[in-house]
Amino acid sequence: MQTKKTGFLSSLKAIVCDPFTMFGVVSAILLLLLTVAPAKDYLSEWRGYQRQYLTFIQNRGDAVTLRRHFQGGINQIWIPQLDVVDRCQTCHVGVGEASLADVKQQPFRAHPPIPHKLTEFGCVICHRGQGAATTVNQAHHSDMTGEEPILPARYIESSCGQCHHEPLEGTPKLNQGRTLLSRYGCVNCHTITLPDGSTMQATDFPPPLTHIADKTTREWIYAWLKDPAAYSSTATMPNFMLSDSDASDISAFLMADSTPDPADRISSPAASKTPPADPTAGASLYGESFCASCHATQNEAGNLVGGTLGPELTNVGTKVKPAWLLAWMRDPKHYDPATRMPQYRWTDAQLNLLAAFLENKTDPDFVANVHLQPATKQQIAHGKELVMENGCASCHEIPGVPKPENFGPNLSRVGSKPLVQLIFLPGMEHSLPAYLSGKIRQPRAFGASLRMPKFNLSSAQVEAATTALLSLTDRSFSLPANLQVPSTPQSHYEPAGQAGQLMSSLNCLSCHSINGHGGTMAPDLSWEGSSVQRTWLESFLKNPNTLRPTLIRRMPKFNLTDAESTVLTDYIMTAYQTPSFVRDEMPLTGYSPALIEKGRELFYSRYACQSCHMVNPNVDKGYIGPTLTDVGARLNAAWIFHYLKDPQALRPGTIEPNQHLSDDDANALTAFLMAQKGGAGQGAKQ
């Protein structure tokens, strides 16, 4: 041992002492050290990708062009005003090469076409990750404080939502997610403030519970609270995971808290007792009234059939009390002023028929095993505490319980929440999207004391809601204001006067939109007064017959009186006119036969309108557009003319193509269409 050491020392001594040997050794070390930096650079990950790229393109037909475009070294997009320093193109070399669109091998694929230029926005604004990094690991997967990993492709639409706050063509998932946040009442507990200062608003208004004891039983409330999805698979009410005793106490409180409403007691007991003469009459009336346009019911095959505007009615007989049902159908707004249900003018006999039909829609199993003891004072008091703890009043109006402010955490910037502030469950992927979707899917798994209820959402809906939440980023607030595309401001238009009251009771705006306010199920009526003829409108309101035979959602018959339909017609004809032309600038009749004939030829040959419309029902078959057999008795000539010239200008979003007609052609077609007055096969005669 000792000798070895001395040997080593002596050789070291020899080297140090001999200046020539020393020089040689130091030079060798220096040379070696000098090679480290270039070697490290040469072997760096991104150079490897650039070499691979050059090999990859050399056998392609477009190799010459691609090689000419290729620039070695670190490539960087620098946009100071957006705080973007992105070096992604260093490895993603072909990202701007359109001819590499079909390449499947990353990182050489061209970026698929989007409406923005990469050089204007960079990469991380949409994809997240660390733009300045030059290794895959740091750029894509960093989860260090203040850094964020790359966004999984399935949430990429969230990035569009940082600037675009209006529904966007091409981002169905983001649009759906935003709709869910509003429809499922998320925004009732969580405040979501958008960069323009507006807050997201709920679009679904759960019923007030003021007179709930008139409407249903304590047993039903109990069973509903325990599992809303068991009553209706489309329920928007979430499951609060209540224990049996808590559900019992809340139901006790709600019943005790409810005040009786005299109107709910009124019914015609004599009539309702007699069973209807025709057992199918109730179902027929349900069909004729187009209840299914808004309400769904389960058919025999177990499929839900009908709209989603109103609650599902499959088991409504289990839920509502007969007297309440009659009072509700007679005047829905009396019980719930915010309801979207129209007031049909049903006769007592019709009301009884429908009520009997609906009361038969029951699911006895739903409340069969619910046996509740009469509630004690303590239970009722505890029920009230629970109602406050669970934030029921965030969505429902409950007497004596004020609507809580900021009940859930503010989510305005939840899409940028740092991972260090999140508590993940063991085994869970450490990423914000995984956390958000996990919270929506199983909120109580993150802590038994959490108040967030479990919503009945499919995995696609959870993904959509997560996408919408991920769009709420810090960056959306810090981006220059001129990049923000605000959502269309919400219109609060309500028609005025006597007609306004009528339209409010008929809830026209549940389906129709007027001046930017209302539903999308039925045509926009903002310019209806310019469009239709007075006599047609008046008779249509009294007895709506469909213009589109293939539609399953149709305008119901509201049984209006003559006076009511006159008031409505007067108002619509006067108030809803387009400023772009004068309604009566063209005559309704008196077009020359030659002009009509020319229009007929244009209709059938040049423009082939019969592929979508029907003028002569014996020959024409198209039924994409409305039937035109009596269009001359329905529409105004000036409307037809201007509509033909530019359909989208008068009905935004209509699928009728703008055929860029000359005035002469539009004139001839108008003459032809105005000659279609319906009745004795006039079209055929032409």
Partner: protein, 234 residues
Amino acid sequence: MLALALCAGCKHPTSSAPALKPTASGTAIVLVGGDKQLGSPGSRLSQPLQFQVNDNLGNAVTGAEVEITGPKGVIFDPAQVLTDENGQATFKVRLGGISGRYELTASSRDAHGKPFSLTVAEFAAGYQEQVGYEVNEKYCSRCHDQDSTVTQVSNYDNLAVKPHSFSNGDVYNKITASDLATIITHGGPAINRSALMPPYGWTLNKAETQAVIAYIRLVSDPPYVAPGVVYAKH
């Protein structure tokens, strides 16, 4: 319990599933449903992909092993499975992160260990194809799609000259992108086709027209192959 369920839901199913023990074998795989779906990149397809294993008499075989494979990035749940009592194997599919056509292959082995398989296609729509799909749903599909649904009745049967389905690659792959743009913009007569195809050039903008073409190219069957760069001959 909940936490466990959640974790199971979050984790991606791994390919290292325990080996299945097939109890039977067939000779052919046929498609039951779930192919040619349009999804977004990285998302789960709305319908599962279903196959059936048949024996040489065409009867469904229960207990045959079916394995499904696809390009990198596609996640299957499960990746292999034994056929159920109806002889069917069902796979949930999550597409990969890049847009385009995905070819997935279901394979099984016959009694002699000889493999047989069936390849089907699914489509991941990027932004442009998604816009094209939406334009198609709004304007084109009324006539070009033969299938009627409750909410949307097809106009196909009413047309004297029948339009082609957009998935008909034999027709559309031969039409150049500029010709397609011309038909969409100026209507059928612009290139001597039917006047029943109206012009959409004043209804759609250029980006939407290009998007429809991108959508047609995506769903084309047989698949569309881009012509690539064409150079003048010497």
